[in-house]
Amino acid sequence: MAKEKQEKSNEKPDLDKVVEESRRDFIRRLSIAGAVSVTGAAALYSGHSFEKAKHSKGMVRVLTEDNRLVEIPADQIKDLKPDIKALKARGKEGLQGKRWVMVIDLSRCRNARKCVEACQSAHHLRPYEYHINTLVMKESVNTPEYFMPKPCQHCDNPPCVSVCPVDATYKRQDGIVLIDNERCIGCRFCMAACPYSARMFHWQEPSQAENDKEKVYDVELNVPQKKGTISKCLFSADRIREGLLPYCVSACPNGVFYFGDENEDAVTNGTTKETVMLSELLQKNAGYRLQVELGTNPRVYYLPPKNRLFEFERGPEKEYREETI
């Protein structure tokens, strides 16, 4: 810390010193660069043939937990199930120091519904079961229609969590409202309490229940889904943990979604991958939140559908048929 301060107050000589150091470093590098290119090419070739040889001996390449690629004999592989307790514990804990926030730019949404599809495929839902749904909105007679993607708002004063009798739905320190479907008793009080209709219930056997039987339950993905329990948008807690943007955010082809950490005052667009300042984005575009009068304090912001990139086109009405129960 002291060093940093010094650098600020006494900047110029320090900069020179750094340049001096890098020059010495450069000269060192220059002398080895030639060698590297030759040996590199040689190593590449030998490595290639080496791998070929190994593969033929029943060896398998495995990515270890600390991200090392190793090879082990195929007959020594043991299937390990991920520890369900560890998954639960980290799902309960959340990411320290983070406050996730989503910004949805309504001026860019053309109802491609790629967000919906990506979400449904990740969470094993039917076409009419939603964690995120794109709605056609029209506030009043003289105001225009527009499309509005609607995920769970991950409120900071979540009415759904308040009413849960068994702690099955809970809010984490990083703002995400999650569901533990191994705890949920299916009373649906949370659905009744949610003013955004963000929750869904498994009225019948979930669509991929048969395939997911053997899977270890990951509370951050809510897969396998369970009959008789609630499900809802999780801000893709499993992806965020790995530094990935949520499924819906990265699936959008039109740059509608931004996602990021409020504590860093930054959100990243899922399509352009551009990272911008959250406060500036909201300020310049008059960002707002849904139904603020309810005091729910959502973590999802909307940018008004002004200067739209697309004409509003309803497209063919799709009919949804319930699978027979």
Binding site: V19, I27, A33, A266, T275
Partner: protein, 308 residues
């Protein structure tokens, strides 16, 4: 506004280009090579980056499970993509086109090369050529260096670029430099593109209230915009240029929505006192049933002894 125009371009351009022809890379960029050899390490790093940034459209290389867009993203393991030169792939990843994002705002130059290295691992016939040294066409024979410092007085970050060879160090002038701050999901552009002055410096204004970590540290990365003139040079530094941000857990305060241990005191008290109170009385009343029984037993006992 800049983002807006960029986005407009991204969205208007694709059909235009899709009608046209192949994606043409400027001649001078085609021959660019990585400055380091591709190793398992670079491939792993590349794979990680691929999984973060590319998989959602391109799918798993070799599996053909890319999503259906126009123009088609394609599977990077196919011959169509692999016949691009390293330089072409690097250019396409950096600049982007249509719905393909421009990753130079997201990844560092080295990171893009890591992705190239990962993609090349799906090509059996590929033999890498490595560029021997970092060259600069503006300062032939010299290596371009950057230093990054923070000026607390006016809250600016100063990037100084110099060309270094064995004899001397000269400032790099007239070079366009961009500054990024590392955020959780990518690199955020700070201020706008700046041109280095006579003394080789570019000054970036830090937006007010830009959050740093607990000590106010921010990880910065400075880059040349024109990589042809100055080579792929970037400088990563951590500076105490941000607002000190001590994250507070959202669960800190007692509330109705918090977990049981964090319930409001009044709820705990009312519930507990109510339940204990009423059930205390119920217990008392149950005891009275016992009293009735004892008295009855006593009377019956007396009666039977009288009868005897």
């Amino acid at each position: 506004m800049k983002y807006f125009i960029l986005t407009v371009l991204f969205i208007i351009l694709p059909p235009v280009i899709a009608w046209g022809q192949d994606w043409v890379v400027p001649e001078e960029r085609k021959g660019r090579l990585s400055t380091f050899p591709f190793t398992d390490e670079t491939r792993q790093s590349g794979e990680k980056l691929y999984l973060t940034n590319c998989i959602s459209c391109h799918g798993n290389p070799g599996k053909g499970n890319y999503i259906n867009l126009v123009p088609s993203p394609g599977d990077p393991a196919t011959e169509k993509i692999q016949r691009n030169s390293d330089g072409e792939i690097f250019y396409k990843l950096s600049v982007g086109r249509g719905q393909m994002p421009s990753f130079r705002n997201v990844l560092t130059g080295d990171e893009i090369w890591h992705v190239v290295s990962y993609l090349r691992s799906f090509n059996k016939n590929y033999v890498q050529k490595v560029m021997q040294i970092i060259t600069s066409s503006a300062y032939p024979g010299a290596v371009i260096m950057m230093t990054v410092g923070f000026n607390e007085a006016d809250s600016t970050v100063i990037v100084r670029a110099s060309a270094v060879d064995e004899q001397k160090t000269v400032p790099v002038t007239g070079a366009e430099v961009r500054l990024f701050a590392r955020r959780y999901f990518g690199m955020m552009v700070i201020d706008e593109e700046k041109t280095t002055s006579e003394s080789g410096t570019a000054v970036f204004k830090i937006p007010a209230g830009l959050p740093g970590d607990k000590e106010g540290n921010i990880h910065f990365s400075a880059k040349f915009a024109d990589e042809d003139l100055f080579g792929i040079v970037s400088k990563d530094t951590t500076l105490m240029a941000g607002e000190i941000t001590v994250p507070v857990s959202l669960l800190a305060e007692r509330s109705m929505w918090n977990n049981v241990r964090k319930a409001p005191i009044w709820v705990i008290l009312t519930y507990t006192i109510g339940v204990i109170g009423v059930w205390g009385f119920i217990f008392l009343i149950m005891m009275k049933l016992r009293d009735i029984y004892i008295i009855g037993s006593f009377i019956q006992g007396k009666k039977s002894s009288e009868a005897i």
